[in-house]
Symmetry: C2
Subunit: 153 residues, 2 copies
DNA sequence: CGCATAACAAGAGTGATTATCATTCGCGTA
DNA sequence: TACGCGAATGATAATCACTCTTGTTATGCG
């Protein structure tokens, strides 16, 4: 089990290093720490959440490096329903998935994609591409509702 | 043709008036102007866009009234990929649809929902509801890519 | 007609995010 | 190993979409 995780982590780190190197950026300790934080979470994280879990990283460093990681396609910014942006590893590294969004507290959770749903979504994409002149390259499917905590309260 | 539009507009205005009345709010000229602006656009609008198309409305009034219209379920705020929030009529008034999002310029266009896709999405929703404790009430399906203008340039 | 209440509009304030800049660090080179 | 250059860091200032405050105006009701 831990071997699998170690291998997975290594491959992710290698991929990140390559992508940063393409624009002459270094894979520093802080950036590695950020990537590991994102990889460990099973859901997109807000900056305050990242600050809370990694007190070694100052806020400005988190903001700056998340922006850079997003530019090189390692991280991804998710616009949510509350005031905070949320960051997760890019789908190329973490695998394609969708999101559960709580409309009350803003929490976002990951949900794996299913083959049948993906086929329906892709069909819809190709049907639209021609009609409106868009070149569709990816999709987002969010399911909105109340999370377990907000259901109870 | 214009008769149909007139009826449609009237029914929307009536619905808006009722919803505002429930919280002791009036359906004023500015609010009607806002609703008509949103209804006329076939896509979600940013506040700068609304300011540009209706110079009679000061920015503060647009912000305040869009917030109120959103609270009573008449309008809806769409988080996009750029810095600007976008507003559209709530789906209860405009009908269910999805969005095409340009990843370069941020533009958002509407795309009608199809029955087969909706069925697939609903199936996915019910499959997830039980598993993760969420109570899913609605969904968002965005197709990301380049709009016609950004394709050309 | 006059009061009560809501809406308006201009500007100040808020807060998440971004830019600045002196200092430190990482990495290649001699 | 020491040197030097450029990138990275982090404390702070600035930005900007958005919200609140305040004094004024308009509207509905008796």
């Amino acid at each position: 089990m831990s071997d699998i995780h170690a291998k997975l982590s290594t491959s992710i780190h290698d991929a990140v290093r390559v992508r940063l190197a393409k624009v002459d950026q270094r894979y520093t300790t802080r950036r590695r720490l950020l990537v590991e934080t994102l990889a460990a979470a099973a859901r997109p994280l807000t900056i305050p959440e990242i600050v809370a879990t990694t007190p070694r990283l100052p806020q400005s460093t988190i903001y700056r490096n998340l922006t850079i990681l997003a530019e090189v396609g390692v991280a991804c910014r998710i616009p949510g329903t509350d005031d905070y942006g949320r960051y997760e590893l890019a789908e190329e590294l973490s695998g394609h998935h969708h999101h559960l969004v709580c409309t009350r507290c803003g929490r976002v959770d990951d949900v794996p994609a299913t083959a049948t749903l993906e086929r329906a979504l892709d069909d819809a994409a190709s049907a639209v591409t021609d009609r409106q002149g868009y070149r569709v390259t990816e999709h987002r499917f969010d399911q909105l509702g109340l999370c377990r905590d907000c259901c109870d309260s």
